[in-house]
Structures are given as C-alpha cells and as structure tokens.
Amino acid sequence: MTPAAGRLDGGAGPLVRPYTMTGGRTRPASGTGLDMITIVVAARRRVDWSRLQPEHARILRRCRTPVSVAELSAQLDIPITVAKVLVGDLVAAGDVAARAPAPAADHPEAHVLQAVLDGIRRL
C-alpha cells in the first residue's frame, strides 16, 4: 500500500449537519473530503454489527461491492449531504475503504481519459 492509499483526499471544509439522522453532531470529521462520486467498499475484515447504528448498518450492507456515495444516497433515499456524513463515519471507523474521484477537469490523467474513450466506444 502506498503511504497515501489509506487516506482520503482532504480539501473540503467542515460540513454543517442539519439532520437529526447524523445525531446533530458538529465535529467536522466525518464526511469531510468525501465527494458524491467517491467510491467505497466494505473492509474485508469481520464487522461487529452490534456496535453499528441502523443507518450505518444499512449503508455497510450495500457496500459489499464498490459503490459511489451518490448511489448509496439514491438507494437509501437520503440526501447526498447525509450520505457523506454517514459514509465518513464508516471510513473513520475502518469499516469501509474509500477512493477519491479522478483528478479534476484541468488535469485528467491520460490513462483515465483513454479508459473513458474506450468505454464509450464499446457502448
């Protein structure tokens, strides 16, 4: 594993959390740095489901295969903002691994562009 591989890209500011589902917490930890197309997957190790809150468990069950924050949000019918916070909690607890999106429009990587081109051609 590369030194940075286990971490999420930083950058986003603290989130305001107006939702009771997130327990009204204001600590700016969970969800920070997550994008709506960040891809997450459940960690391989055993999870102690009894310590998870129902919302976290619902998300974790849908992370057996890689999935984006936006898809989790749509599948569970919760706003993206809320999904980011809940997924962020799971990342912080080590229950899911997360991969930040490919770099922005200014610096798309050649191999990513090539993969997109090939993928669209195959449509």
Binding site: M1, T2, P3, A4, A5, G6, R7, D35, M36, I37, T38, I39, V40, V41, A42, A43, R44, R45, P66, S68, A70, E71, S73, A74, Q75, P79, I80, T81, V91, A92, A93, G94, D95, V96, A97, A98, R99, P101, A102, P103, A104, A105, P108, H111, V112, L113, Q114, A115, V116, L117, D118, G119, I120, R121, R122, L123
Partner: protein, 197 residues
C-alpha cells in the same frame, strides 16, 4: 499513514469520473442519461450553497444561500477500473449560481439543446464557458420541431468553432454515444497542448 484498521486497499477500487448533462427543463437530459447508462437512472438530492457576497455588500457580512436540487444520474463502467457517472442537472436559471460545486472535478459537460426552444440552453452554455469546463452541445431533435443544421445551432447558441455540436435524438443510445465521444475527444484535444508545453 495507516488507515485506522481498514484492511482493504483503496487503490484496488475503481476510480470515478463524472460528466454533467445540462440544459433546459424537458430538453431530454434524463432521457439522454438513461439511453447510455447501464443502470436505470437514479435520483437523489444535493444541498448546494453559495457564499453570497453581493457587489453592494459593504458591511462585509457573508451570507450563505442553500438550495436543495434534485439530480438524476446514470453509470457506465469503463475499462481499466474507471467508472463514469453522468449527472443530469437542473436547468432552471435560478440554480446556476450554485453550480460550482457540481462542476468541480467534472471531466466535461453535455449541453442538451431543445430544438423547440434553443434559448433554454443558453444559461448552461454561459456557465460552462465562464467556468472553463469543456462541453459539447447535443441537439435533441424533437418530432415536429424545426430541423436545424449543426451550423445553424452553432450560430444560434454562439459557441466557438472547436466546441462539438452533435445532432441526434436523446432516446437513442447511438446519439448519446456520439456526443459523449465528441466531448471526450474534445477534452483530449484541449489537454494535448499542455502536455507538449
């Protein structure tokens, strides 16, 4: 740095990219997303914020405006562990000032132009031009509407010569494919000078 006990290497996960699909209400954004997506379009909502410092804002008080917008999106799994998400984005003019968050990190955008009312795509074109987001225009030819040529649309919408303008039908996968290909080729052409320089 260790990842807090997570034993899965994030480097093994697919990397995601996104393309926005913009245009006026009813122009065919969701239709286009659905015609190329490998999943039925999903919908969700995002809270968007704007730190509103008006020009006549002399007291220096920063005000934040938030609006919830509905987004629908599709997915196409690419080769080499890359996943493309297509986000159909609301076209109402009053949301445009909040689009920075959505546009951040996008590979590019498709602006769907409705041949029954071309002008409804102007705000989207303005936004992407100002933000420097590469875009292509998908001309969605509705039955019974005036049949424009690509050049007529280019002139009416007033986009630069290098911006792809593709005539099609949002309901057809071939049309969606063609405009996405044009967009990505356009992105690659824009990027190349920076490589050699």
């Amino acid at each position: 740095m260790a990842s807090d006990g997570c034993d899965t290497d994030p480097g093994d996960l697919p990397v995601a990219v996104k393309i926005l699909v913009a245009g006026g209400f009813g122009a065919g954004k969701t239709t286009l997303v659905g015609s190329v997506s490998e999943i039925a379009p999903l919908s969700t909502e995002e809270v968007m914020t704007e730190a509103g410092m008006g020009v006549d804002d002399t007291d220096g008080v920063e005000q934040k405006t938030t609006t919830t917008v509905a987004l629908d999106f599709g997915r196409i799994t690419m080769s080499g562990s890359v996943v493309l998400y297509l986000f159909g984005t609301p076209g109402q003019g009053r949301f445009w000032f909040m689009w920075d968050e959505l546009a951040a990190g996008a590979l590019g955008a498709v602006v769907v132009a409705d041949t029954r009312r071309l002008e409804t795509c102007f705000p989207a074109v303005d936004f992407f031009e100002r933000r420097g987001v590469p875009f292509a225009v998908a001309v969605n030819q509705f039955d019974g509407a005036h049949r424009y040529t690509a050049e007529e649309v280019r002139e009416a919408v007033d986009v630069e010569a290098h911006v792809p303008v593709v005539l099609g039908d949002a309901r057809l996968r071939e049309s969606g494919k063609e405009v996405l290909l044009s967009l990505v080729e356009h992105v690659i052409r824009r990027r190349s000078p920076a490589l050699s320089g």
